[in-house]
Symmetry: C2
Subunit: 390 residues, 2 copies
């Protein structure tokens, strides 16, 4: 692969000397614990509310750095700063988690779905790996169990729509797979593989649409196309994120050819649909039939689809050696690094117009924190190292 | 006022020969009743689901044309096509209304809030005025009562946030005022004035922020600024819509000077905040402290804030004679008519980028139907006629 040493240097250096220091400096709440993710472009906190997704994700990132890069005490302390906040303020009496709490940890919002739980599960598992404290393995398992139960038991999460339109969402199995992968690895427990098998089966059966060559986001109960706005709306960055969860499973299973085929198919289809041939970059939403979508931010460029596409193209190249993926990686890397990083204050802008101009200048909010960007840097660095050694 | 005859001609002609024929041709469901509002730019139906907001609004528009422009049988039939669909498919067993039904009227989605009810109330009231059928006056009253009860009784609508952050929204009193104005007029019933008095009081007490010179959208229980993203986010087009509801009440009350002052103050403040000094047009969201907002479509130009600003500036000019409002009207009229109308297929695009380029090319969806645009044309035409006669 061309320029592999250059890529390793960029990914490693930017992770350790730009992204992590930016958040460590600006988001740690030394007074009340946890992290504040709502930051202006220069790092100033502009909203003190704390999203539980982000607390789990921040803690997972610091724990993962400790487990994979260097056993630095400050990283372990920061991982602890996350899990202890979750312990104290994350859970309602019914065992479910909140979605947002205020700076002091008072509950502000709870939602129907269970992604606070999935992110807490991976935070706890990484912290267990780092400390061998069994109580955190137990907490990880508990959160995973809630995630599994709520996302696979019909009716447990009150559906948005009536029974006249029963739907299945791609998010449930996708996040399930990566969460189970994390627990399997950090708890050293192969029993999580059976969950992954089921979720992989669900994706193949219901979300892979051969007719339209598309990974669907929302389908009918039996995988049928729901020919309305919501059913036709594709999210290429999301599906490409799913593609590397599948490829990651292929690697775990000694380069399982069926999973390589499934993962690269998902990437191929959604690159074709999502890559903006006019301006470059990944479009946010597309309609499976090429009709207008309802969501008006459809043609914006968000940071995270670019993170996921960089990981997926590198992983596909690692698994297949196909030059096409080397070219795609170069394309998406170039567009991403030309437009997203803030050369003045560090870190990345998150929300660009289609042509790459900045729309919202903030660095963090309830959705954007320390997660997709550092995960990309770390994984891209690791994949490039592996490719380089071959 | 300069060019008043030109404006009258544009508003009248475009309403009767462009907007109304476009929707009458493309959205009427002759097979199952009601209207389909999800249309591509050429009028093709691209989603057959029916939003109940839109069914009420379409019916109100046709009924209002019948009552105010000409007693055309086709308009009355179309108003009937709306109210009969509401009668048959709009209501759940508990008396509350649905949010979306499918083409045949099967319920698809119900929501917590009560705007389906407010739009049904004005549709029924306009239909009563057109037909003198008492049963429709009764239905209008019933829908209004549900709207009033749910939007003013704490806890009846399950709050999004916990009791750690009690909020008040501007939407409730605003839509309440205009709904009560419609019922008062079309049911010829002054008892609705007392509701308007209370909602005007609520707006003045809680949403008028003298310190920031802004009309707030969401405040704390006692009107205090909630210094988080949601509490700081302003919606200039929405507040300007509210400003003309207040000015309309001033006209009803023999040009009540206090209400003229309140309405024009709301317009003045929110024009200053919302008018885009760089590109022209009304910005969608602004932060009261000038910080970044969380919503990524903040700088787009939507159709309806422009409709509301055209009405508000004309009404302010009618009430005060202040040349400033004549100039503002000209500015917003020019920008609007330069960018929104589709000269090829008729009607308006709804979602533009900041600089006026089209983002989503559709003509209708679950949010955009036959409402803000024809209401603007009719009211602007009527106001200009009144100004011209002075």
């Amino acid at each position: 692969m061309k320029n592999i040493e250059k890529y390793i240097e960029i990914y490693k250096n930017d992770l350790l000397n730009n992204i992590i220091p930016f958040w460590t400096k600006n988001s740690v709440d030394k007074e009340f614990g946890g992290f504040m993710s709502c930051l202006d472009k220069d790092g100033t906190v502009i909203d003190t509310d704390k999203g539980l997704w982000q607390i789990g994700r921040f803690s997972w990132v610091y724990g993962t750095l400790y487990n994979n890069v260097e056993q630095r005490k400050d990283w372990l302390d920061l991982a602890k700063n996350g899990v202890e906040f979750l312990d104290k303020y994350g859970f309602d009496k019914d065992g479910r988690m909140f979605f947002v709490v205020d700076r002091k940890g008072n509950p502000i919002r709870k939602r129907r779905y269970v992604f606070s739980e999935s992110f807490a599960a991976i935070a706890y598992a990484a912290y267990y790996k780092a400390t061998s404290d069994e109580s955190y393995a137990e907490k990880a398992r508990k959160c995973f169990d809630i995630y599994f139960r709520y996302s696979t038991t019909a009716g447990l999460i009150p559906p948005k729509l009536t029974e006249n339109r029963k739907t299945r969402g791609m998010g449930g199995p996708m996040i399930g797979i990566v969460t189970a992968q994390e627990l399997r690895k950090n708890l050293n427990d192969d029993s999580y593989t059976k969950y992954i098998d089921n979720w992989l089966e669900e994706i193949q059966t219901y979300f892979i649409n051969e007719e339209y060559k598309a990974v669907m986001e929302t389908v009918g109960e039996n995988g049928e196309l729901i020919d309305h706005f919501d059913g036709r709306t594709l999210n290429p960055g999301h599906a490409i994120e799913g593609s590397w969860f599948v490829m990651q499973e292929a690697i775990y299973r000694n380069n399982d050819p069926k999973l390589i085929k499934l993962g690269t198919k998902m990437l191929d289809w959604m690159w074709e649909i999502g890559w903006d041939k006019e301006y470059g970059g990944m479009l946010y939403f597309r309609d499976v039939k090429g009709l207008p979508v309802q969501e008006y931010w459809h043609d914006m460029k968000f940071w995270w689809p670019h993170n996921e596409t960089i990981i997926a193209t590198l992983m596909a190249y690692e698994l297949t050696g196909d030059k096409k993926y080397e070219e795609w990686h170069e394309k998406v890397h170039e567009w991403t690094f030309k437009h997203f990083p803030d050369r003045e204050h560090g870190e990345w802008y998150g929300y660009l117009h289609r042509d790459g101009r900045i729309s919202v200048p903030l660095k963090g909010n309830i959705w954007k924190g320390l997660f997709h960007i550092p995960r990309m840097y770390l994984m891209a660095w690791q994949i490039c190292e592996r490719i380089n050694k071959k």
